[in-house]
Each structure stands twice: as C-alpha cells, then as structure tokens.
C-alpha cells in the first residue's frame, strides 16, 4: 500500500475547519476552579527591584494568590543552557520583565490585581542597541570563529567591497500565543498541557523549579497554533509559572499570554549587524571574505550561541569561499531574550553574503545572477568548516532548471523594456539560491524516539517525540507509519506528544522533526512487521491485518515496539571550527519579480518561482505548504515586519496593529512552486529531505529583486538598504540612487 508520497491533507484538517481541533487554551473549560495568571511588569529595561508590596492586590476581588520568588520550592531559574533566567528576578533585565504573577478567578481580576502590586525599583543604565553593547563590551559568549585560507587577497583583489548591514529581528507571531495549563492529576503529581516545541525540556524546567524528580511531571502538547522556534525554549517559563501556581494553591492554573504580553515578553529572531570586507576578482569571483557578525541576544543566553554558530556555518550560502574569517559575537542587551526562529541564524548570514555579491555585481557592471553562478560550490568542494558539500551539483542543476522554467533570461529583457518606458515605477527580477545544513549543530540532540502500539483489532497508535505545530509532522508520521506497517492510514492514530510515552526527547526544531522521529517510527514498525511476517505467512492469504494481529496476540507475540534513531556521522569541534555538523544539505532557488513605486516606496511582488529539493516528498501538500509558508514568512521578515524598540527599551511594535505580518497583499500574483525531480536523499527516512526552514531564505530573492528595481532608477550606482525593505527605506534608497550618491550610504537613520 502506497501512502507515503501521496498528497494527503493535514492529518487534523477536518478538526481545523470545524473548530474541533483543540489547542491548549481551548481546554480551560475542562478544569473547574481554574485560576488565571497575569504578570506584574517592570516598567524599566534595567533596574534593581527594591520592594514588592502585594497587600492591595490581595484584597482585589477574585485574586487568590500572588507568586513571588519566595514561593519557589526548587531552583527558580528557567535558563535552558545556562543558569541565567531567574523566574522572579531581583534585577530587572528587560522592559516589562515579570517580577511576580497574580493568580485570580478570572483573567480580568488577575490583571487588576497585578496593577495593584506596588513595586519599587532603582533604575540602572540600560544597553539597548548592538552598538551600545559593542561599545560597552557587553557580550553573552566569547567570540565564535571559523576561518580558512589566506586573507591577504583582501588587499590584492581587483575589487574590494566593504561595509555594514543592519538586519531587523522578527516576531514569531504564532497565531496561538504562549499557553499552559497545569493541574494536580489523579495521582497527586503535576500534569501540564503546554504549547511547547520541547515537552521534555518543559518537563525538566518545571521539575527544576519545583525541586522534584522529572518522573513527577507529565507534559503534554496536543498541538500548537504555530511556533516557528518561538516555543522551543520560551514556552518553559509560562509552564513553570502554571506549575508553581498549582503547587502553591492546589488549583489548576492557566498561563496564557495575551498577544501584547507575548510580544513584550518573549524572544524574537535576533537583529544582526554585519561588518564585512570582501575581495573579488575582476570577473566576480569572491577571493576572500572577512565578516564580523553581531547578534542582539537580549538579556540571557537562551539559544543565542548555537544560533550564532549556524550564522557562521551559513555565511557561505551556496558559494565557495576560498579564504574566509567569520567571527560571531552575541551582544547582551536589556531586551527580550532572542531565541530560535525558523532558520536559526542562517538567514541573517545568508542575506549578508547575498548583499555582498549583489554589490560586487553592481560595481563590476555584471548581472548579479552571473556573479552568483560563478561562485557556486562544485562537487568535491568543502565548506569553510571542512565539510564536503555533498550534492553540490544540485545547486547548479536547480539553478539552470529554474531559470528555464521561470523564463528568467527572457523576463529580464521584458523587465528592462518596461523600465525603459516607465520613469516612476521600475521592475526588478532576481534569482537567489539556498543551501541549508540539516541537523542540530549540537550533535547529541540528533536523536528521535517512538513507541508504536498495535491493538488486537489492528488499529495503531503512534507515539513519538516530535510535536505538531502546523508543519505537518503528524501527517508525515502517519503516512510513514502506515507505509511501514502496510496498512491504510485510517488505521493509524498519531497521539499527542507526551513525556510519559517517549522520554528525553529533543525539541522539534532544526527542520529535523521528520528525519529523527520518522526514522524512529520506521524502526519501531520494522520490529513489529518483522514479528508479524511469520504470523501472516501462517494464515490464509485472505487474512486481514486485524486477523494477523489477533493471531499474533494469541501466539504471545508483542504488538508494540519502541523505535529509536540517531543521526550517524556528524560531529563538530567548536575550538578548531572544523567538522561535519550537518548530515546533509537542503537546496533550492527562487526567482522573484517586483515592482517599485518611486513616489511611495511601496512595492508589489508580481511573481515568484521556486524549485526546491525535498528529496522524495513524503507528503507533497505538506511540503509545498512549508515552502510557500516559509517563503512568505521570509518575505515578511525582509520587506515588512519591522520590529522596533523605543528609547526606554520597550517593544514599540507590540501588537498586531503596529507589527504587520504578511497578509493577502504580500502573496505574489503568480506563485509557481516545484520540487526537484529524481532527488532521493540516501540515508534519510524514505529518501525525503527536511523542508521546514530552508524555504524561508528563498525570500532573499525578493530583497534582491527590490535592489534591482531600485537600481533601475539610477545610473549604475550601488544600491544598499538596511533590512527590512520598508516603503520608507525603499523611498529613500530610490532618492539616493537617483541623485547618484547611493554608494556607501547604508540606511536612513531611524529615530526609534
């Protein structure tokens, strides 16, 4: 029975469209006496907490209790990698950091209660920008560095491109905000429903805060209303508060952040500042690159270190850098603690290298696509960290096929003709590649587990360590399980993720959810089919799967198995900056065409063509959805979503009305998405390839198309602009290029 590779809708599609699919907060009605929590927010980016007086809050009708540091029985620190995130801080480290939580019968009462808590602070000087952090030497890690080759070419190259680029962060804006409900279960232990990408870590953090062994805590994630990395770590604090509330009051507690709280309190994609110098030959080959990347890590470490590593790994994108030194610094600022977000540091570095190549093209009067192609990795090349670029020939294959199917060359002439005839609107078309490394760069995370249960009627429950956030993992797991067992999909039920089914799991992240958990499910299924084979052989051919299961049961053959998978052959030495951190690379490319209005700085995305290497797609609807959704999310990051903090360090864009996501108007009018054919990926589950993150970076084609369009207003001057390419930035970029002074102006200073 062929189920893998079929275009099946999302496993929960019917639940989604009827409203029956439940999310954490939808469960609230099931917990009688549920308490709601609201934080007491510090009005300073950096301050010492002098005193907290909750007397007035306690008499507010409906208020049941107030949680402060004194209530923590265990270790009140939720920091995932370093112990640097006190749940109840003495020193406020970002604007609106919660210093206490009020529990009440209703959310309204909790909010009013929180407003009655009198907190006194001693304000301290705050570091609010990357530049301020650099000036103050305020960093969260040592320098991270990867280098190879001889940088002296920088001095001797025919062309030197130098400059800096600032890249804005991005709010995840998962439609479902952070949510947890905790309660004391029937056995007296604590159970938690949490919208988390990493139930095992949520369990670990709760156990740590409560000072109990982990077996006392059960965490379940039904499904998430989006996550994108934002619930990899940052779900933990909410869950910990909920669990602490239960611990103290005995009543079930819900912690659900409103959108504004979520935007004010949780981490985002890191803003970056890049400083670079690159040397090129006169025919556009990059000879040397010195790159310094600063990320704005916010107040605590979170995942900023591996994120910066991924930036260092991806500063090559698809290009061979013969001589390179790339250094990463994670700045410590008094802001939300920036965290994982689809691409995990890769996108920022890839935008930078594309920016550098585009500038070189303009300086050398060569088309940008020619320079890009000239610098591609070829089969046999190694990356700057010493990993062989397996499948490098796919870069060129994809590139050439996509140019053909999108009629790139022909459309370039059409665009040029259009531009010749229009003074105030110009079009631009650009093609950009993506190479993205798949695996967690921390090797030990690369393991997956599963528990497959078959009942005597032949119905199947599949448990595994991955979480469903909309990426279609459960859909794929169901197809993989059905395929492996040789049964119809309807027989297979994928269970909500629970820490009491599969323990010690990794976060569902790094695009590796299917690779790891899918392979573990295959392992479990193979064990079972191995046992069932002889049973089936002993039965008449007409025996159904249920008959075989019943017979196996009677022969005392176990109908369940645990599966396990660990990614082979990966390793990385951070000291040497050498290794094979990635099991394989995912490839793709996109062509985008835009139209820019010089009067307003607005642009429209006219058309996008994508060719993506997904291996043998397990689930074409899911994969296409990831490509399109990831692409549009990238378009949002690069052209629209502007994350701003005010002078006090408050997130100025802390609501849906001030922070704009892509909507109907950002979808390209023509949107062609195809998979690379005959692309089986050896060694990965069913020959498939990860697809969660790589497509986001295809959106760089839009940024580059905008650059082409802006350039068309000028006379060959170099066009630069900071990211995102908002109407304001484009408007002034057009002005500069029209005045012929585009070179080396980087961005319009923004007062915020």
């Amino acid at each position: 029975m062929k189920t893998a590779g079929q275009p099946v809708p999302h496993e929960s599609a019917n639940g989604h469209v009827t409203g029956e699919a439940l999310y954490t907060d939808d469960l609230a009605g099931r917990f009688p006496g549920l308490l709601h929590a609201w934080p007491v927010l510090a009005p300073h980016a950096h301050a010492r907490v002098i005193s907290l007086d909750a007397a007035l809050a306690r008499v507010e009708p409906g208020v049941i209790d107030i949680l402060t540091g004194a209530d923590v029985p265990g270790d009140g620190n939720t920091g995932p990698s370093r112990h640097d995130e006190p749940l109840f801080p003495d020193e406020v480290m970002f604007h609106q950091q919660p210093v206490a939580w009020v529990l009440a019968d209703t959310l309204e009462a909790a909010r009013l209660g929180a407003s009655r808590v009198i907190a006194k602070y001693e304000p301290l000087p705050a570091i609010l920008t990357i530049q301020e952090a650099i000036d103050a030497g305020s960093y969260l890690t040592d320098s991270l560095r990867i280098a190879r080759g001889d940088l002296s070419a920088l001095e001797s190259s025919a062309l030197r491109v130098e400059g800096e680029l600032s890249l804005g962060g991005q709010e995840h804006f998962y439609l479902e905000t952070q949510a947890s409900i905790a309660w004391r279960d029937e056995s007296g232990a604590i159970s938690v429903h949490s919208s988390t990408q990493h139930p095992s870590e949520t369990q670990e953090v709760i156990a740590r805060v409560l000072g109990v062994p982990r077996h006392h805590i059960t965490v379940e994630c039904l499904r998430m209303g989006g996550a994108f990395g934002g619930k990899e770590v940052q779900a933990n604090a909410c869950a910990a508060i909920a669990a602490l509330g239960v611990w103290k009051t005995g009543r079930a507690v819900s912690v659900r952040l409103t959108r504004q709280l979520d935007m004010a309190l949780t981490g985002k994609r890191h803003p970056y500042l890049a400083r670079y110098a690159a040397g090129f030959s006169s025919d556009g080959r990059i000879e040397a690159l010195r790159l310094l990347l600063y990320s704005d890590g916010g107040w605590s470490l979170d995942l900023s270190e591996p994120i910066m590593w991924r930036s260092l790994f991806h500063c090559d994108n698809a290009y061979h850098l013969p001589a390179v030194e790339v250094t990463g610094r994670v700045c410590r600022t008094h802001k939300t603690s920036q965290t994982a977000f689809r691409g995990f540091g890769g996108p920022q570095a890839m935008v930078v290298i594309e920016d550098i190549l585009a500038q070189a093209a303009q300086r050398l009067s060569l088309p940008a696509h020619v320079i890009r192609e000239r610098n591609f990795y070829r089969e046999g090349d190694t990356t700057h960290y010493g990993q062989e670029v397996e499948g490098a020939d796919r870069i060129l294959t994809i590139w050439q096929r996509l140019k053909k199917t999108s009629r790139f060359d022909e459309r370039r002439s059409v665009v040029a003709a259009f531009n010749a005839q229009h003074a105030h609107v110009k079009r631009g078309i650009a093609i950009t590649p993506v190479k993205f490394g798949i695996s967690f760069t921390a090797t030990f995370f690369n393991q997956g587990g599963a528990l497959v249960l078959i009942y005597r009627d032949g119905s199947v429950q599949v448990n595994h360590g991955g979480t469903e956030m909309g990426q279609g993992l459960f859909t794929k797991i169901r197809q993989i399980a059905a395929e492996s067992l040789g049964v119809a999909e309807e027989r297979v039920r994928v269970m909500p993720t629970r820490t009491d089914k599969v323990p010690n799991t990794s976060a569902t992240a790094a695009s590796a959810g299917t690779d790891l958990n899918g392979a573990a499910v295959v392992d479990a299924c193979r064990q079972i089919t191995g046992r069932l084979g002889p049973v089936a052989a002993s039965l008449p051919a007409s025996a159904t799967f249920a008959d075989v299961c019943e017979a196996a049961y009677r022969q005392r053959i176990p109908l369940f198995a645990q599966g396990y998978y660990k990614t082979p052959d990966i390793h990385f030495d951070p000291v040497a900056g050498r290794g094979r951190p990635f099991y394989y690379f995912a490839y793709g490319a996109a062509v985008s065409e835009v139209e820019v209005d010089a009067f307003t700085g607005a642009h429209r995305l006219l058309r996008t063509d994508i060719l993506e290497d997904v291996g043998d797609s397990v689930s074409p609807i899911v994969d296409r959805g990831q490509i399109e959704g990831g692409f549009i999310q990238g378009v949002g990051w690069l052209t629209l979503e502007e994350l701003l903090w005010d002078d006090n360090g408050r997130v100025a864009t802390d609501s849906a009305s001030t922070y704009k996501l892509p909507s109907w108007s950002e979808v390209p009018e023509v949107f062609e998405v195809n998979f690379l054919e005959r692309a089986t990926q050896p060694g990965v589950v069913l020959g498939s390839k990860a697809v969660g993150e790589p497509p986001l970076m295809l959106a760089i084609s839009v940024r580059e198309a905008i650059r082409e369009a802006v350039a068309a207003f000028g006379h060959g001057d170099v066009v630069t602009f900071a990211s995102p390419a908002t109407p304001e930035r484009i408007f002034f970029a057009v002005r500069r290029v029209r005045m012929g002074s585009g070179v080396f102006t980087f961005s319009v200073p923004h007062p915020l």
Partner: protein
C-alpha cells in the same frame, strides 16, 4: 424609544438556538462569551480586530437582502449581540458533513497549524453565500484574516474552488428577513432607537460611552484596559443608517457600516472603491462606521482626508438640537472635535457635483489592512482652458489633526495644473506640515512622501 425599564436579560440567537444571558459585564466580548460557553472554535489571536481568528457571522440586512456577515467577535461587546442571529464555526457542518467552505479549505491544504482556520472558514462561508454573487468568490473577502503558516496560496485556491452555495438550510435562511435590531435596555447597555433618546441617555449618565461599530472602542477596551459602566449603541437608530443620493448631494448615515456605503452608493466616484479597499479589512468594514472614525479625530484616520477633499459637512444632533458643521471646522486639536457631550454625528453630507478628479493615497507598511503613515486625498476641477477651478489637498498623518492645505489650494486655483503648480503645493507642504516620528515612519519620510504624493497625483492624471 421605550422609557427606561427594569433591566431585561440579553437575548440572541446562537447557532440557531435562543440564548439568554442574565448578567453580563458590558465590557465582556462576544469572543470571551463564546469560548467560556465551550464554543472554542473561534480563537483569540490578537484581540484587536487584526487577525480574524475570532470571526463569526451575523445575519444582516444588506439593502433589503439578507446576508451572512463575517465580523470580529473580539470587537463585539457581548450586549451588542442582543437580538442578533450569530453563527460560529461549530454550526457549519451538519451530521459530520462539512460545509463547502470547510471542505475546500481542508482539501486545498488551507490549514497548517489550524489556528487561523475557523476564522478563515467563517469569512469564506459568508462570501460563499453572498447574495447576488455570480462569479467566483472574491478572495479579498478574506483579507481580514491573517495566517502565519500557509502563505495564503492554498486558501486562495480553496476560495476559488467554490461554486454556487448549495440549496441548504443556510441558503434558505437567506430567503427570510434578517433579525430586527431594535431598542434594547439591559444592565449597562442601551440601544435606543432615536437620536433624541440616545442624547437623553448620554445627558443623564455622564459615565455612558457612545458606541457604534466598536472597532475603535473594542480595541481600547481589550488592549488598553478601558472600561465603561454603560455603553450606548447607535445601532438601533435607523436615521443613522440611512443613505440617500440626490442631484445636490449624498447623505451617509454616520452609523452605516462602511461595507454598506460601498454597496448603497450607486454612482460613487472610483475613488470610493480605492479608499474602501485600503480601509481596514472586510471584517472591520462590516462593522466600522464613519461616525466612529470621525469622532475619534485620529490624525491618521482615513475617512477625514477623503471627506475633506469632497467638501463634506457633518450633521450633528444632540439634546441641544441639530446643527451642521463643515468637516474642515470639525477637528479642533489632537483628538478633539466640536462635539459636545451628548451630541452625536448623525450623518455626513457630500455636496454635488463631485470634483472631476479625486484620488486617495495611503502610505503604510502593508498595502492592505494597515493604519496610515500618511493618507492623502486630492481633488481637482479644471475649466475648459485647463485652469484649476477647485483644488483640494487633504492629508492625514502629518499634523495633530487631519487637515486641508487651504494655502496650497489657493496657490493653484486659477492656474494651469502643471509641474509648477505641483511645486507650489509642495512648497506649502514643506513650510506648513509638522509631522512626527513614530514606529510607522520618521517625520522626514512623512514630509517627503507627502510632497511626492502630490507629484504622483499629477503624474497619474488622466491624459
């Protein structure tokens, strides 16, 4: 209206069954109510009308026809549901059979995480059953719903895959009259049926707040924690929902939702459609009114620039009687107007003939459903010799109030409409506008782009 009586329970139809609510805070939202009742299909994604995850449909009258109307339940105060007929996503499927909109969304891969999906389904459902629809569904009907996962393409495909609505209970429902939205008086909420009664309540109860579509007030409540002991809704005042079009002018009831203005104004100039598309989203336009937009006196409201360019006047009514005020004299300062306590905007009058050429431009980060960084409406009438007979340059986002650049208008009147005239207007902008910097844009950008828009207006003139 009926004299103030003892508080009645709040009553409405929910998914076909009557609902009685004995006590409800007037500040509770319909969304909170639904979710607390176990109808958790509608989600809270933002609580400010931006994401549409909370969408439900009302049965509404559209110029004599009954229609389903998708609205944001997060911006409806629960008492505003009185006498309404409301459907939520839970009611669409019957005995396990999905409604067409649901089936199309599921089949097309229109849901990934699924959190936005119930809202999309409701918007699509209303569009699918839109009376008089002959062609495919208008995908812009979904522009008030945000999806962070899909990138919208599959949702677009789902919408375009829908044919005519089936002959089912929903279509049959549209064959009957919509519920009458009349006078209501319940604890903390009043919906009078005349202007006088409304003014009376406001005069009697200084804590009472006037509410129309609640798309502004609801945000104030949900995001800024504003609370009102009593809300007075204008939704039952038929005069505020009138629309008339004569040879001398157009009169638009201040309580008429924007969607209805687009439908009712048969000989509207093309600028109206341009403006409506750029104003908020369909979900918001289904409730938002001009009265509410103008009364807030927001410097970045979109109605004022257009109405200023059209020389509109406001009919005000209150306990002290009625008066008409030119819109240009209505705004007196930052978020201040000439409205007196107990006075309301009854209607907007636009004189005819309309200028021959009127355009509306909106600068915002996002093309659809964003608040203006700068909004501009410009109008030009020329005589046969090409000289400007009447010019109107109205801007929002560049000063404490929306404003007309009278000096610029005078500078070009009687002159040919050419590049020199454009420069004169730009000169006035440069000298007189006082924009500020905020998260939507810098003051430099606001000023420069305002000047640039005049050039755009000229460049895009019919030739």
């Amino acid at each position: 209206m009926a004299p103030a009586t003892a508080a009645q329970p709040l009553e409405f139809l929910l998914n076909g069954s009557p609902v009685h609510v004995d006590t409800a805070s007037p500040n509770m939202t319909l969304l909170e109510f639904l979710r607390a009742r176990g109808l958790t299909g509608a989600k809270e994604g933002c609580a400010e009308g931006e994401c549409g995850a909370c969408a439900v449909v009302l049965v509404a009258d559209e110029g004599g026809r009954t229609a389903f109307r998708a609205v944001n339940s997060c911006l409806m105060f629960l008492p505003m549901a009185a006498q309404q007929e409301i459907y939520t996503v839970e009611s669409l499927a019957s005995h396990g059979a999905l409604a067409d909109a649901q089936r199309a969304m599921a089949a097309a891969g229109g849901s990934q995480c699924g959190y936005c999906t119930p809202g999309f389904v409701m918007s699509l459902f209303a569009e699918h059953y839109r009376p008089g629809r002959t062609g495919p569904c208008d995908t812009l009907a979904l522009a008030g719903n945000l999806c962070r996962c899909t990138g919208y393409r599959p949702i677009r495909d789902a919408a375009l895959a829908l044919g005519a609505p089936p002959d089912d209970r929903f279509r049959r429902r549209l064959g009957q009259a919509s519920p009458a939205i009349g006078a209501v008086e319940i604890d903390g909420f009043a919906r009078p049926s005349t202007v006088e009664a409304c003014a009376d309540i406001l005069a009697r109860d200084p804590s009472a707040a006037l509410v129309s579509g609640a798309t502004d007030l609801g945000v104030d409540s949900n995001l800024h924690g504003r609370r009102w002991p009593t809300l007075v809704s204008v939704e039952g005042i038929s005069e505020l929902r009138d629309f008339s079009e004569t040879t001398t002018g157009v009169t638009i009831g201040a309580g008429l939702p924007l969607t209805d203005i687009g439908r009712a104004w048969r000989e509207a100039p093309p600028v109206l459609a341009e403006w409506l598309t750029l104003f908020a989203s369909p979900l918001i336009r289904n409730r938002a009114t001009l009265g509410g937009n103008l009364a807030t006196a927001s410097p970045i409201g979109d109605a004022a620039p257009l109405l200023l360019a059209l020389d509109a006047s406001l009919r005000l009514a209150g306990s002290g009687g009625r008066r008409t005020v030119p819109l240009a004299a209505f705004f007196t300062g930052y978020r201040k107007t000439v409205l007196e306590r107990g006075e309301l905007i009854a209607a907007i009058e636009i004189p005819r003939p309309l200028p021959a050429l009127v355009r509306f431009y909106k600068i915002a980060k996002r093309r659809l459903d964003d608040i203006s960084t700068v909004a501009a409406a410009m109008a030009i009438d020329q005589d046969t010799a090409g000289r400007v007979r009447r010019a109107r340059f109205a801007f929002g986002g560049v000063a404490a109030t929306p404003l007309r650049l009278v000096e610029a208008e005078q500078a070009v009147e009687g002159q040919p409409w050419n590049e020199a005239a454009v420069e004169r207007v730009q000169d006035v902008i440069q000298r007189t506008l006082t924009p500020m910097s905020d998260h939507r844009g810098t003051k430099e950008f606001r000023l420069e782009v305002s000047k640039s828009l005049v050039e755009k207006f000229w460049w895009e003139r019919p030739r």
